[in-house]
């Protein structure tokens, strides 16, 4: 049930002052999806967004919109709108006029503008704020105006550049749900840029993990979290234990001095691999029953769970468990076959 591709980036090359930012990036974005570009700062995610918005013209490559190349189309002719990182609201206009800005440029008639603006302000929960000056709004309210302004033009795609970065945690959580709701209500494509993995997992239909100008993995949040393709993705998305191991044969891997059955196959015999185990996937058992045994170094209370660091034969494991062990205690650790993720070693 995959939707048709609405934007296709093909072999995009961008560099700033000779410094390469994107080196041949290709990416298909499907219609009506909530797509998140996720990665650390400097990974090229914002540049990718700006290529789609028309603010950065790639040195080479194609930007296809519904199959048509829009690479040299200026931003004001593109059927996309942007919510900027610092909101970029016009301080000389009030809330109403900010939202109406794009509509006035289209020379719509005043009645239609009015109904569209009011509808948008209602959608983002800012009814009654029309005459308010931008300077008198809180960060969260400014954010909502910026979103309403972007959506008022009825774009095919809304681009969002780390729009929640400046908000506090509680507001950010609220806005995440709000944005997801908006995307579904408007039934358009959202392309969202963030460095916050939790945000990406919460809202997205598809997550694109980027690093150093390259796409590391594309997939659903579940895929990305449960089946990271490489150590970078595994480390970037949530906490992980990553250790070197050897694939003895199909469905059998050896690491940390013990053999484990797993669900992976297709590796060469005795191929050296990397093994990812999520902290919450390690079961704590009495020492005598554990495949691995280790000594608890410290325990930190994290709210829902305890985070423990366990020393085992030179390895350090991070475990999330609802039951706390005592520091210094000898414990056993078991890992189920389903919880072991095998990755080919990353070439650095």
């Amino acid at each position: 049930m995959e939707n048709p591709v609405i934007v296709s980036l093909q072999d995009i090359v961008v560099d700033f002052d000779g410094e390469p930012i994107l080196t041949g990036l290709s990416l298909d974005i499907h219609d009506k999806e909530f797509v998140t570009l996720l990665g650390p700062s400097g990974c090229g995610k914002t540049t990718t967004l700006r290529v789609i918005g028309g603010f950065v013209e790639p040195k080479s490559g194609k930007v296809l919109f519904n199959g048509k190349d829009i690479k040299s189309l200026p931003p004001y002719k593109r059927p996309v709108n942007t919510v900027f990182q610092k909101y970029a609201l016009f301080p000389h206009l009030n809330v109403y006029e900010n939202v109406a800005f794009g509509l006035r440029l289209k020379k719509m008639d005043e009645k239609e503008i009015h109904s569209r603006v009011m509808e948008m302000l209602e959608t983002v929960g800012l009814k009654g704020f029309e005459r308010r000056s931008i300077a008198k709004l809180s960060g969260g309210q400014q954010q909502r105006v910026a979103i309403a302004r972007g959506l008022a033009n009825h774009p095919k795609i809304l681009l969002l550049d780390e729009p929640l970065g400046a908000l506090d945690l509680k507001l950010r959580k609220e806005m995440q749900i709000e944005l997801k709701r908006l995307q579904q209500a408007m039934d358009i494509t959202f392309i969202y840029v963030t460095h916050d993995q939790e945000e990406a997992l919460t809202m997205s239909d598809t997550v694109v993990v980027m690093n150093k100008g390259h796409i590391q993995q594309i997939g659903t949040p579940e895929d990305i979290y449960n089946e990271p393709k490489n150590a970078f993705v595994a480390e970037f998305i949530g906490e992980s234990n990553i250790v070197d191991g050897v694939m003895r044969r199909d469905f059998m891997v050896e690491f940390a001095g013990a053999s484990f059955s797993c669900v992976d196959k297709g590796f060469a015999v005795n191929e050296i691999v990397q093994v990812v185990v999520r902290p919450e996937d390690i079961q704590v058992v009495p020492a005598i029953q554990g495949t691995l045994t280790g000594v608890v170094k410290d325990v930190i209370f994290k709210g829902v769970h305890f985070e423990m660091r366990v020393e085992q034969a030179g390895y350090e494991w991070i475990i999330h468990s609802t039951q706390a062990s005592q520091p210094g205690e000898l414990i056993g650790m078991n890992i189920g076959p389903e919880e072991i993720h095998i990755m080919r070693r990353m070439e650095e």
Binding site: G53, G54, F55, P74, P75, Y76, V80, N81, T82, F84, Q85, K86, A88, L89, F90, P91, H92, L93, N94, Y96, E97, F101, G102, L105, K106, R131, R149, G150, N153
Partner: protein, 270 residues
């Protein structure tokens, strides 16, 4: 920080002696005869010089518009440059201001003269010699040349505060270059425009050196007229004061006009 208001007293004293008192003296002279009796004759006596007032306003207005048109794009590109380049360019803009005002204007005299450098160069191409010195155009040129930095600086100051993302937002919402300019850049830089206009128009309208050196006898401005009343042949403090007073009123009117323009644009059209 500073809580002690008495620190401002020295300036208050200064203001009283050198600003308020002279102003009162000017008002006194403007409304009295040489014998010290109240009269309105000084003000009505200005009537024959209406043409000079009109010329002053016209030339200063033209110079201000030229400065604005020239300075606006320069200030914009200046404000978009990298910080270190901005500083160098600003230095270059201000460089002429560090040279003596008279010297700069004399330089233009030698350039514009009948046998001046420009006419000589034009002569090589078989053009001219053109009458450039002692024209209204030369006076405007002198005003533009001398006061252009005063237009660039406030415009630049207003424009560096406009974040790039606002310009991008305008384009993103469908505004091309022209509408980005008229709907975002100009309204947002309106305070700078108002300041720039004031800072160029006020000295231009009251100048007397530029018009005398570059305008010859035929382009007398209010400044020259006033000077004549105090130092020249006509020597009449009372009429001179009346003229000064009228000039102040004209300038105040112009300033309040530009200021309200700036305010309205800033507050928004609604």
């Amino acid at each position: 920080m500073l809580k002690n208001k008495s620190l401002a007293y020295p300036y208050l004293v200064w203001m009283a002696i050198f600003i308020a008192a002279p102003l009162l003296i000017v008002v006194y002279f403007a409304f009295t005869t040489a014998e010290g009796k109240f009269t309105l004759n000084n003000l009505t006596g200005i009537a024959p010089y209406t043409a000079v007032f009109a010329r002053s306003l016209l030339l200063a207005g033209a110079a201000t518009i030229i400065c604005l048109v020239m300075a606006y794009p320069v200030s914009y590109f200046l404000s978009r440059m990298r910080a270190n380049k901005q500083h160098i360019m600003l230095m270059l803009v201000m460089l002429p201001m560090w040279m003596n005002f008279l010297l700069r204007t004399y330089a233009w005299m030698t350039l514009l003269e009948k046998n001046g450098i420009i006419n000589k160069i034009l002569g090589f191409f078989g053009i001219g010699p053109l009458q450039m010195i002692n024209t209204a155009g030369a006076v405007i040129l002198g005003m533009v040349y001398n006061y252009l930095p005063y237009m660039i600086l406030p415009l630049y100051t207003a424009m560096v505060k406009i974040d790039d993302s606002l310009i991008e937002a305008a384009q993103d919402l469908g505004a091309g270059t022209w509408r980005t300019l008229t709907r975002v850049l100009i309204p947002m830089s309106a305070p700078g425009i108002a300041t720039g206009i004031t800072m160029v128009f006020v000295p231009s309208v009251s100048t007397f050196i530029i018009s005398r050196m570059l305008g010859g006898g035929g382009n007398m401005l209010i400044g020259d007229l006033i000077e004549l009343q105090f130092l020249g042949n006509s020597l009449n403090y009372n009429v001179g004061s009346a003229m000064s007073l009228l000039l102040m009123v004209v300038v105040l009117l112009c300033m309040s006009l530009t200021n309200t323009m700036g305010d309205e644009d800033v507050e928004g059209v609604i």
